[in-house]
């Protein structure tokens, strides 16, 4: 079972994106699909402790993501997740206090340095 609090944070982020950043419904739907991967990756653990997870997100993507996804899709997924985490750090500073900005920025850098084979 996934952590419901993680799911609620993602929904809050999508509402924020819709109302504040005025993202379209299609973009919101795509963002949600991308963030579902983060939710599955986090599993039953709170997102605030994700820096301590054993495998990193890009490795998880390379193992789990459906076939047919190209490098551009993977980059897009990682970018959405990075936006969410930056928003989370601003909105939930206490919960996300252990997650460093460097770590968040590194999410996309990892996949740029290392080829993701799907």
């Amino acid at each position: 079972m996934l952590d419901r609090q993680n799911y609620l944070k993602v929904k809050l982020f999508l509402t924020y994106s819709r109302k504040v950043h005025e993202r379209s419904l299609l973009q919101i739907s795509t963002d949600f699909e991308h963030l579902k991967i983060l939710l599955v990756w986090a599993g039953s653990q709170p997102l605030g402790s994700m820096h301590a997870f054993n495998n990193n997100l890009s490795d998880f993507l390379s193992q789990k993501v459906e076939k047919g996804l190209d490098q551009a899709d993977v980059q897009s997924i990682l970018k959405t997740n990075r936006r969410f985490l930056l928003w989370g750090k601003a909105m939930f500073p206490v919960e996300f206090q252990n997650i460093q900005l460097n770590w968040i920025m590194k999410i996309t850098a990892i996949s740029e340095r290392k080829e993701v084979i799907i």
Binding site: D3, R4, K36, L39, V40
Partner: protein, 144 residues
């Protein structure tokens, strides 16, 4: 515990069939699942009354497991699939029963050219069953 009140088939839209496999393995509230599937909450509650899997906690709140619900949606789709075999003589498809039935009290009326119209009653529900047939002969009429 699921509360199965009525296990009859529900009509599930194509949109829901596409979106349901994307539900996450977690507990949803009816409102959340309705939002994710883009259906009105009343429709979802109707499905719960038709046997969709759900449970209630100590406070009587409804919780729906995403994966169980997706599996139920898939079963509903399979249950509604029409039989693949061809209709035999004297048979028709009853739209009420959603099944192939032997037409009772069948009457054949010519329509145009080789096309005829077989009209009769369903033996199960008594509803009218229609069927178009080519080159209708006496074998098309059910015996008895």
């Amino acid at each position: 515990m699921s509360e199965n009140q009525d296990n009859s088939n529900c009509r599930i839209s194509r949109n829901v069939l596409i979106k349901a496999p994307g539900l996450l393995p977690m507990l949803y509230t009816p409102r959340e699942i309705a939002e994710d599937l883009d259906v009105p909450e009343t429709t979802l509650r109707d499905w719960l009354n038709h046997g969709a899997p759900h449970r209630r906690d100590g406070s009587n709140h409804i919780w729906i497991d995403g994966k169980e619900f997706a599996a139920w949606i898939d079963n509903q789709r399979n249950a509604r699939k029409k039989p693949a075999h061809k209709l035999e003589a004297g048979e028709g498809f009853c739209m009420r029963c959603n099944a192939i039935v032997k037409i009772q009290n069948g009457e054949i009326r010519p329509v145009k050219g080789h096309l005829s119209h077989l009209k009769g009653k369903c033996p199960n529900c008594g509803g009218i069953v229609n069927r178009g047939i080519w080159n209708a002969g006496s074998s098309e009429l059910p015996q008895g």
